[in-house]
């Protein structure tokens, strides 16, 4: 009984709260620009509207085009289930689950890219190439981050890895993971989620041809992915193991909010980078995570 309750609570957190994050980011951007901006709940309205709409599919695309967004969504949800959620702990925890999380995100990327290529559009090809190429650098940064967490805690299970404080390397890791978060969730300065129709987009251009319920699934999945990276970042940096459950939940929620606001501020204050500078920024993220790893090596558990 308890486990069912736990599952319901966890699913609620991931499924229902995730669309809040893009809303908060947009609100922050609007405030900084001196506008009122769309309501925080805008994405919920969008999702509800899209869910009822019909679908127009490219004549070139196979039926997989419609169902691949569902695979991506399941992959992100599966990754989310592996991530501990403050006092709730992880839905499923075993040795090596950190690697499954990374590879589930990669599965999501594979499906999005495959669906984009289904349409035979030059624009979507462009987005796909950028996505899968930059992911190589992002993956290096992520694995270095996971390695440093693993060295710090002496474990490869997310629940144990995220429990202790990161110590001296926390700042380096936070900076590295924040850059990866921006890249993987197609935020400024890597991508501009506010527009589609430019030659310069990565992720947004990959989903140009989607419509109706599949688009709703994609948008919801993207929001979950953003929440996932935020939760990962907050828990990697802030020690929460010894806090009381309610306090831990409050700290986690506060941390997620802070990161979300930070994303909004970055988006308001920075312009998108030229593409030749994107690999540089991602390499910086990789180096930050690598230094975090070396610091953890020197200072971690004996």
């Amino acid at each position: 009984m308890n486990s069912i309750l736990d599952l319901i609570l966890r699913l609620d957190c991931w499924l229902l709260l995730a669309p809040l994050l893009p809303g908060i980011i947009n609100k922050v951007k609007a405030w900084v620009a001196g506008r009122r901006g769309p309501p925080v709940l805008q994405l919920y309205y969008d999702l509800a509207r899209l869910w009822k709409k019909g679908v127009v599919m490219s004549t070139l695309a196979s039926p997989a085009f419609v169902v691949l967004p569902a695979v991506t969504w399941v992959a992100v949800l599966g990754a989310a289930m592996l991530l501990p959620l403050g006092p709730l702990g992880a839905g499923l925890s075993f040795r090596g689950d950190a690697l499954l999380l990374l590879y589930l995100l990669a599965l999501g990327r594979f499906c999005t890219a495959w669906a984009a290529m289904e349409t035979g559009s030059a624009f979507e090809g462009m987005g796909t190439v950028r996505e899968v190429s930059y992911a190589v650098l992002a993956e290096a940064a992520m694995i270095a981050a996971v390695l440093s967490l693993s060295v710090q805690s002496g474990s490869i299970s997310l629940a144990a890895m995220l429990a202790p404080a990161m110590g001296a390397s926390a700042a380096l890791l936070a900076a590295g993971l924040f850059i990866v978060l921006l890249a993987e969730n197609c935020r400024v300065p890597f991508d501009d989620p506010a527009t589609h129709l430019e030659l310069t987009m990565i992720h947004e251009v990959m989903v140009l041809d989607h419509s109706g319920p599949p688009l709703a699934v994609i948008l919801h999945g993207a929001a979950m992915k953003l929440l996932l990276f935020t939760v990962l970042l907050v828990q990697a940096v802030l020690p929460m193991a010894h806090l009381k459950p309610l306090l831990a939940a409050a700290v986690l929620a506060g941390g997620v909010l802070a990161v979300t606001v930070a994303v909004g501020l970055v988006e308001s204050l920075l312009a998108r980078f030229a593409f030749r500078r994107v690999p540089l920024l991602l390499t910086t993220a990789f180096l930050l995570c690598l230094f975090a790893l070396l610091v953890a090596w020197k200072g971690g558990l004996p």
Binding site: G54, V56, M57, A61, V66, W114, G120, V136, I156
Partner: protein
């Protein structure tokens, strides 16, 4: 029981060599029976855990025939049997008598010969006989690659294969001869305590490394895999490369290794994985792409083996066993998905007649089965859950992570290895999104692609069977754990036993759940879309009204970004004619990635050697007077030497 089955399998395959020339049906039956018997033999070893050994009184080359089947050999026997059987069925349609009346009978005979000789390679236990089986296997491979000798590219590839293979065999001759000299006989077997044998490991690594396709030694591999018939490419890539891996694993297990072996193998593995997949990404010929991807996978296997060697020299740490088990599972996994991908490639080649990805496109419409299984193979080879590729990489990762957590010397090898493995994984994803999308998605770029046709049942069946294996190994990996544990025990007795340091069963259940959820979510979404309304329209190209198939991304433009980071080693050759003037006419941009190691390293050296040799050859021209002068000059020189020696 196992032994009798193995001998029966080899006899059955031997008969199939004869039957292949005249009776295709009998040949197929005999080959399949041989494969089933070999499979039975291996399963017997795994189930009972007993090693089979047989010393007969039959003398061959002065030595008694000695065969042995332990966990490690049995692992490779399974691989050979499965791919050998699948390829035999596939060839019935792909290389049929109707299309190739001259070479089909020959192809059948050599095929059975190849499978039989590979079974012998992994089961004989005598250096001399090993070399015989090894040579037979190499020669069968050569004749299979050159089944279609009318094309010059095929002859060149076959020649290169033969030359490289024999360069490796020279090292192996040295290895086995020195081993025999030091141990006093050709008998092979565990001699783990004889430290004097350790330096021989380098010879074995070089000799077997050529066959396995370790990075700078892989030169023969892309051309041979690309030009061979596709079922041959499948067995070359899926199984024949693994014979090299078998040699390295076998003799690093039976003999002691130098202290640096673990470091070197890990380093070679990391370089092979990363550079192999970088080359794969840049290819525009899909069979070459698959060939370079095999180089990558050999690198992944070596990473696991290197971890195991490091662990063994650092106090038998348990993580080494995980890395070794992961490497051994990857031997199977790569055999399954690479054979599947090559069969898919063969089906496309069969239907369109081109190996150039940028001339295909949109094939899913005409070839839905091939497209489906190729996509599945692509997910597996990119190491993504819930398929088998992920499981073996996960085991290797776990081993390497534990090595890092151990904070001893091996951690310094394991840390870069983990990062490079992740990089190679991400590049593999890019590579296979490219391969799949260029071949099967979008619009047809040329007429042959538009007029393609699906392959028949004889080709589809083996592909579906291999796809099933990929799925089964991904969803229930725990089933094969006893086999991996028995191989690890055969490699290093201290690691014997069924203990499992990784939650493999949990992973299996998670993958199963994931697969179920994916199926359910996909079905629900499809139904929802059908009930809402599903219309069709042209691809949205940002308002452009008349998009054409030529505006799609091509293989070169897809790879451009990531391959650019590796241009220091890929050395792409570019032809560029920019559009000029107000009314530009033709503009061209061509990019070709050469086989850098072959064309820019080996060939120039070969050319220099030829130049020096032909310069020396001028001394020999057939004029008798000059020869007499040589003799006199030689005598005078000798006399001078003697004179100088005798002076006080």
């Amino acid at each position: 029981m196992s032994g009798q089955l193995l001998v029966a399998a080899i006899i059955s395959l031997g008969l199939a060599v004869v039957a292949g020339v005249w009776w295709p049906r009998v040949w197929l039956g005999l080959t399949l029976a041989g494969a089933v018997a070999a499979l039975g033999a291996a399963v017997g070893v795994f189930a009972t855990g007993a090693e089979w050994e047989w010393k007969s009184a039959i003398l061959l080359g002065g030595d008694a025939v000695h065969m042995r089947l332990d966990g490690l050999s049995a692992l490779f026997v399974v691989l050979t049997a499965v791919v050998g059987a699948a390829g035999a069925v596939y060839a019935r349609e792909y290389w049929s008598d109707a299309r190739y009346p001259a070479s089909a009978p020959r192809g059948r005979a050599w095929w059975s010969g190849l499978v039989a000789s590979m079974l012998l390679v992994v089961s004989v236990s005598n250096g001399l006989h090993f070399l015989m089986a090894w040579e037979a296997f190499a020669i069968c491979g050569y004749f299979l690659i050159t089944l279609d000798p009318k094309r010059p590219a095929v002859r060149a590839a076959g020649w290169l294969y033969l030359a490289a293979s024999h360069a490796g065999t020279v090292c192996l001759f040295g290895f086995f001869a020195l081993l025999a000299a030091k141990t006093g006989g050709w008998e092979l077997g565990p001699r783990r305590d004889d430290a004097a044998l350790a330096p021989l490991f380098w010879l074995a690594l070089a000799g077997f490394g050529v066959k396995a396709g370790i990075f700078p030694l892989h030169i023969w591999l892309p051309a041979a895999h690309a030009n061979a018939p596709s079922h041959v490419s499948a067995i070359l890539s899926g199984v024949a490369l693994k014979m090299g891996v078998y040699g390295i694993v076998r003799f690093s297990g039976w003999l002691p290794v130098p202290a640096a072996a673990g470091w070197v193998v890990t380093g070679l593995g990391a370089a092979t994985a990363l550079l192999g997949i970088a080359f794969a990404l840049a290819q525009s010929d899909y069979k070459r792409l698959l060939a370079y991807c095999s180089v990558e996978n050999i690198g992944i296997i070596l990473l696991g083996l290197g971890g195991a060697l490091l662990a063994r020299t650092h106090g038998d740490a348990a993580w080494g066993r995980l890395a070794l088990a992961g490497a051994m599972l990857h031997v199977w996994n790569h055999g399954a998905f690479k054979a599947l991908l090559f069969f898919g490639a063969g089906s496309v080649l069969h239907a369109t007649g081109t190996r150039e990805m940028s001339r295909l496109g949109g094939l899913w419409r005409e070839m839905p089965w091939t497209a489906g299984v190729f996509a599945l193979g692509a997910v597996a080879v990119a190491g993504l859950p819930p398929l088998n590729g992920f499981v073996s990489e996960w085991l290797i990762y776990l081993g390497l992570f534990d090595a890092v957590a151990g904070k001893q010397a091996p951690a310094w090898a394991a840390m870069p290895a983990v990062i490079l493995l992740a990089l190679a994984g991400a590049l593999a994803l890019a590579t296979f999104v490219k391969a799949g999308s260029m071949m099967f998605l979008g619009a047809a770029r040329t007429k042959p692609a538009a007029l393609a046709h699906e392959c028949g049942g004889w080709m589809r069946g083996p592909m579906l069977a291999l796809a099933g294996i990929c799925l089964a190994l991904g969803l229930a990996p725990i089933v094969v754990w006893p086999a991996l544990a028995s191989a690890a025990g055969a490699w290093h007795p201290a690691w014997a036993g069924a203990k499992l340091e990784a939650p493999l069963a949990t992973l299996g259940w998670v993958q199963l759940g994931l697969a179920g959820l994916i199926g359910a979510a996909a079905t629900l979404l499809w139904r929802k879309v059908r009930t809402n309304h599903l219309g069709r329209g042209p691809t949205w190209d940002c308002g452009y009204a008349a998009p054409t198939a030529r505006m799609q991304y091509t293989s070169g433009s897809f790879a451009g970004l990531a391959a650019g980071w590796f241009s220091w080693i890929l050395r792409p050759m570019r032809t560029l004619r920019r559009p000029r003037g107000y009314f530009p006419a033709a503009a061209i941009r061509l990019e070709r990635v050469p086989d850098v190691m072959l064309e820019q390293l080996i060939l120039p050296v070969g050319v220099r050697v030829m130049q020096v040799s032909s310069a020396v050859r001028r001394l020999q021209h057939g004029r008798l007077s000059a020869y007499i002068l040589y003799v006199v000059a030689g005598l005078a020189a000798l006399g001078l030497l003697v004179l100088l020696e005798s002076m006080p």
